[in-house]
Symmetry: C2
Subunit: 374 residues, 2 copies
Amino acid sequence: MNKELAALRDKIDDVDKTLLHLLAKRMTLVSQVGEVKNKYGLPIYVPEREQSLLQSRRKDAEALGISANLIEDILRRIMRESYINEYDKGFKALNPQLRPIVIIGGQGQMGQLFNRLFTLSNYHVRIIDRQNWHEVSHAVADAGMVMISVPIHKTEQIIHQLPKLPTDCILADITSIKALPLQTMMETHAGPVLGLHPMFGPDVTSLAKQVVAYCDGRQSESYQWFLDQLQVWGASLHNINAIEHDKNMAFIQALRHFTTFVYGLNLFEEQVDLQELLALSSPIYRLELIMVGRLFAQDPQLYADIVMASDENIALIKRYHQRFGEALDHLENKDKQGFIETFLRISEWFGDYAQRFQQESKTLLLQANDSRSC
Amino acid sequence: MNKELAALRDKIDDVDKTLLHLLAKRMTLVSQVGEVKNKYGLPIYVPEREQSLLQSRRKDAEALGISANLIEDILRRIMRESYINEYDKGFKALNPQLRPIVIIGGQGQMGQLFNRLFTLSNYHVRIIDRQNWHEVSHAVADAGMVMISVPIHKTEQIIHQLPKLPTDCILADITSIKALPLQTMMETHAGPVLGLHPMFGPDVTSLAKQVVAYCDGRQSESYQWFLDQLQVWGASLHNINAIEHDKNMAFIQALRHFTTFVYGLNLFEEQVDLQELLALSSPIYRLELIMVGRLFAQDPQLYADIVMASDENIALIKRYHQRFGEALDHLENKDKQGFIETFLRISEWFGDYAQRFQQESKTLLLQANDSRSC
């Protein structure tokens, strides 16, 4: 028995080693693609190429009797690695004549990320942070762009403290709220103004497929090159006005982070046995526990700032709490029918999204379970 | 320019086609492994083999200058497909002498899943459901095992309505609460009794790495073969007493489903623009929205049953709601310091798990973003 199995396993190992060599070959080709793209300033993420490649290989797979989803999942994973590879090759500067870029708060994690991206694209970058704040006047005197990358609660104050910038200098920020910072930048600078919100953290491996929301301030023609540059880096842009942005962020950030916080608080107060809970978890609960737990590995100041950024955020969270209490009434009255009716009303409102999400979640949950080891 | 890029892309396509043939070859080998395992009754999921295979290929990858995580992710995905492949080959019956297995509620989704697994393992299965309930006495008269797979709120009633079973017949259920069903089975049947809770839904592609919690009832030596059989199918077993099980499920199921329900309710009451929210989502919020939305593609009765299964569930949800209100006080008093202190206390309680979850979430979020298309 062991002999039969061992022989087959050796053959499988050989196949896997061949696979590795094939991957190495593909990565070399991808590097060459990166060089070509770099030369011509082409975006690293091209949705159409990705789609057509996937469609062709899915068809080939079906012809060979292999699962089309298998090859799609593998190729998507390989493409993620390819984006990192192209990223390392550097990028063409779309505005090579630009005077120096000053990143205020350039020692922070997001500041470092943008520093790396600008530098990979041959822009001249100057970092201003707490310890060299005294150099700020000198640094911005001939700047082509000033990017504010500081904690939320310091943003407005720092913008007010900026020395006068050259009139044609672009003033941009990357704060995760937009109305107040944008307004402050508009008041303090008469030239081009742009509000950005990168919808990702500093630990992304590349900007491919990552969303950057942006709010136009003033003289958009002067910073169009920068929006194009973000796309060359792989980002997907989403234009929105600052008020709408902040309304959406009340859900995406404030309410989300706060409910996650309370979720963790409740586990703590109940003194649950995390190990037992993990061992018993369904894939979906495991995923939830991971998303709750990860919050507490991060900086509480950031979350306090985001949640308490506005009275609107707090009002939304209060409405949520109240609705929770109302829904609880169904339970206390053992009113299954009421619960079911509300549920169906919400299902109807979700419409096609419910089905679509269920389909997508299936893939994600299978992926989450692939790496389960405990 | 287009020529250079097109030539490289053709070469990449050739590599990907070779990859497909390699996958086809691997799947053939895996089928042969499945046949050997089937012959000897070996489990389809062997954690040690998986670990050693991954470790060897990671080392090989590093030697070739390829990311070790890349090959690990790809191999894990391939192995998931391999389990499905082995699954299709059928399984050895560990108790081939067993008299027929009767699945009560065998037309339901979970009932069908177990029917398939038993049949793939050459057991003789009989299905009893609403439309042939009148045949139940005849069906169980010579049964070796009776498995209850009916909606939660019907479980006890159905167990009470069962005709007398042969004394050596195993009575098992797969309800997602355990104390009451187990107690009811113990009262109505004098022979072997086993409570099971498969921690997965009917849409799993194989049982590999899926958790099955089980509570011993009576005469565990008579159903040991069935626990072994579950492992042959790939499942990971977790023994627990029924009270502890239900306590954990108050978190894993009742509180989780209810908070998800309220999350959806809140989006509905606020009449958010889901499309805008999705377009602006960070990978983590997108994941959350998917997990909320998927609930509403499912059966509200199931969730009503799970949430209202016990007074303890409702009491836990009430405590959660109260803590939410207390935490809200931080916000209303603009008490950032208080929020931060509580946050840090919870972080400390999570201990190493917070870091571990952050690490694991990074992989999962990257995976979730791989398939982003909008």
